[in-house]
């Protein structure tokens, strides 16, 4: 069983939770930009969150079922239909052999995900199926490709109310080893500033813009190249910040002012161009507790899956996040 790719957006890649343990070889983890979406898809299909899915940046594609197959749609909501009939996002569906799934542009957020029952079963490389474009591990999916899936049985027609994380907002950060390179006045101004996500964004990192002066470190140009972790907020030479994402380099010489908590990275990565972002420092202890709560919340996703019924809020035209935001938050 598989899906045949008939049309596809320019930046769609196969992603799982990433490839760990190769930092000492200069290979960063890669993996889904929104790991929460991987867990949501796994919950909807009743399968392992380690399975791979298709990450679609901004634009989806058209897919034909080579046989009967289950799918789920998560992450940034996108226009979606099966043989012309609109289908609900954040839900699982069945595709019969020959049916066409069409996924259009993103409506909110940045990265949508298409999950297959049994997961996308490409050959793993170093223990992961995640494509890493920067490292030239794999490539973007192209028209004519086939997305094979693993063995599958199970239900479809389920939905899940997602944590709303598609419009920016407050990102919790911790001080990191280079935070003290910035003076207190710069740090205070950093947390008072409302940033906008800039146009430069990909799986390596996302640029933030703000009015006013940049955020320079003391002695910015003479820092020994040092380890990078996803979530680091790096200041370039002009003092304009980048949040580093799953395909970031493993080391770098630009100073980093702070690090976004892993549990807030889905919100960071899903911020659309122009979306507003603020930063809030938390202590390591609070950060650890927030991360713990997030991990526990992931484990509860499966219990929150409900049958998809033809209720008003399941009709795509009415599907508005304003109606449901705040009902469930992964950060609660």
């Amino acid at each position: 069983m598989s899906l045949i790719v008939r049309r596809i957006g320019p930046a769609c890649t196969i992603q799982d939770q990433g490839r760990q343990g190769y930092l000492d070889q200069g290979l960063s983890r890669s993996g889904a930009a929104d790991l929460l979406a991987l867990h949501e898809g796994a919950a909807l299909l009743g399968q392992d969150p380690d399975l791979a899915a298709l990450e679609m940046a901004g634009m989806g594609g058209e897919f034909e079922a080579a046989g009967d197959i289950r799918i789920a749609l998560t992450g940034a909501p996108m226009q979606a239909s099966i043989d012309g009939g609109a289908v609900v996002w954040n839900a699982s569906h069945r595709l019969a052999k020959g049916q066409r799934l069409t996924i259009g542009a993103v409506l909110k957020g940045a990265y949508g995900y298409l999950h297959l029952g049994g997961g996308i079963a490409t050959d793993p490389f170093l223990g992961s199926r995640s494509v890493h474009l920067t490292a030239k591990v794999g490539r973007a999916v192209e028209a004519g490709d086939t997305l094979p899936n693993g063995p599958d049985k199970g239900e479809a027609g389920r939905k899940l109310v997602p944590a709303d994380r598609f419009s920016g907002g407050v990102l919790r950060i911790v001080a990191s080893f280079q935070t003290s390179l910035f003076d207190q006045a710069t740090l205070d101004r950093f947390t008072r500033t409302e940033f906008r996500r800039g146009p430069r964004a990909n799986r390596m990192g996302m640029q933030l813009e703000s009015d006013g002066a940049g955020f320079a470190a003391r002695g910015q140009l003479n820092i020994l190249s040092e380890v990078i972790t996803p979530g680091d907020i790096q200041m370039t030479g002009t003092g304009s910040p980048f949040i580093l994402l799953p395909e970031c380099q493993t080391t770098g010489g630009y100073p980093r002012i702070a690090t976004v908590l892993p549990c807030d990275l889905p919100r960071a990565a899903q911020t659309p161009a122009g979306g507003a972002i603020r930063f809030q420092f938390v202590t390591l202890d609070l950060g650890t507790a927030l991360q713990e709560a997030f991990v526990q919340d992931l484990a509860s996703l499966r219990r929150r899956v409900e049958p998809l019924v033809r209720a008003p809020h399941d009709i795509p035209d009415l599907l508005s996040y304003q109606l449901i935001s705040g009902v469930v938050s992964a950060q609660d």
Binding site: Q20, G21, Y22, L23, D24, Q25, G26, L27, F125, L126, A135, K136, V137, V174, A175, S176, F177, L224, S225, E226, V227, T229, G231, D232, Q249, T250, T251, G252, T259, L261, P262, L284, D285, G287, T288, Q291, E292, V295
Partner: protein, 249 residues
């Protein structure tokens, strides 16, 4: 101890990492200390440790703070630091010496002459010194499998170029700040392109995808353009004709 306060330093990297830094500059002892300390971290096998690595003068450990709280891992790191003079430690065992056929200069590596001039040397003297310096893999990073190598003599402490060279090919040996980088893929760079090899640092299609490990040593031995051409035609295993031997512990 062979270092100045406040080093070594123990600091956090985001929520899930700790960094043990032995100096704020790359020196032979600080790099050796980082490699030795990382080796000891690997051997310690603490529950909750997810991954370790080294940068030029630091050892890094990523961990699960739910299993190994920050206070606990910091205490353990400081205890391990105090247990030995890491700046005087030997390098970890199991290292290799690579001898890599290298074309210096010519149109394959067109910035050798200006690098030699910047070092105050004739081109021939620069080739002699560069090819006889056994350099260490100080760290691997920026791109998969790509080593930073050194230290070279102080005469090679030449700055990076302001203008980037638009593209150097895979296997390019480039020079700046008394270090080499051996590029694992085509890339723009501000380092001077002084040599060309057929050595592939990252071989994703092969069982052993990464050729090198931090602490390995390399010698870039001069060959002619014709010899490199012959190697490229005859050898397909990614070694580019390099030989490899174990360094006795």
């Amino acid at each position: 101890m062979t270092h100045a306060e406040p080093f070594p330093m123990v600091r956090n990297v985001g929520l899930d990492g700790m960094l043990v830094t032995f100096a704020d500059t790359m020196t032979e002892p600080s790099n050796r200390a980082a490699l030795a300390f990382r080796g000891a971290l690997q051997d310690a096998g603490w529950d909750g440790v997810l991954e370790t690595s080294t940068s030029l003068a630091s050892a890094y450990v990523r961990f699960d703070a739910a299993r190994l709280p920050h206070g606990e891992i910091e205490t353990r790191l400081r205890e391990l630091l105090a247990a030995r003079d890491w700046y005087a430690e030997a390098l970890p065992p199991g290292r290799k010496l690579w001898r890599v056929p290298t074309v210096y200069g010519t149109d394959l590596a067109p910035q050798l002459d200006e690098a030699a001039a910047a070092a105050g040397l004739s081109t021939d003297e620069a080739i002699k010194r560069l090819s006889r310096t056994r350099v260490r893999v100080l760290t691997i990073g920026f791109a998969p499998g790509q080593p930073y190598l050194g230290p070279l003599g102080p005469e090679f402490n030449i700055p990076r170029l302001q203008e980037l060279t638009p593209m150097v090919p895979e296997g390019a040996l480039v020079l700046a700040i008394s270090q080499f980088v051996l590029f694992s893929g085509p890339t723009p760079t501000g380092w001077r392109h002084v040599g060309q090899t057929a050595f592939r640092c990252f071989r994703p299609e092969m069982e052993q995808s990464f050729a090198l490990n931090p602490g390995d040593e390399m010698l870039f031995e001069p060959v002619t353009q014709a010899e490199l051409k012959r190697i490229r035609a005859a050898i397909e295993d990614g070694t580019g004709g390099a030989t490899c031997e174990e360094i006795p512990a």
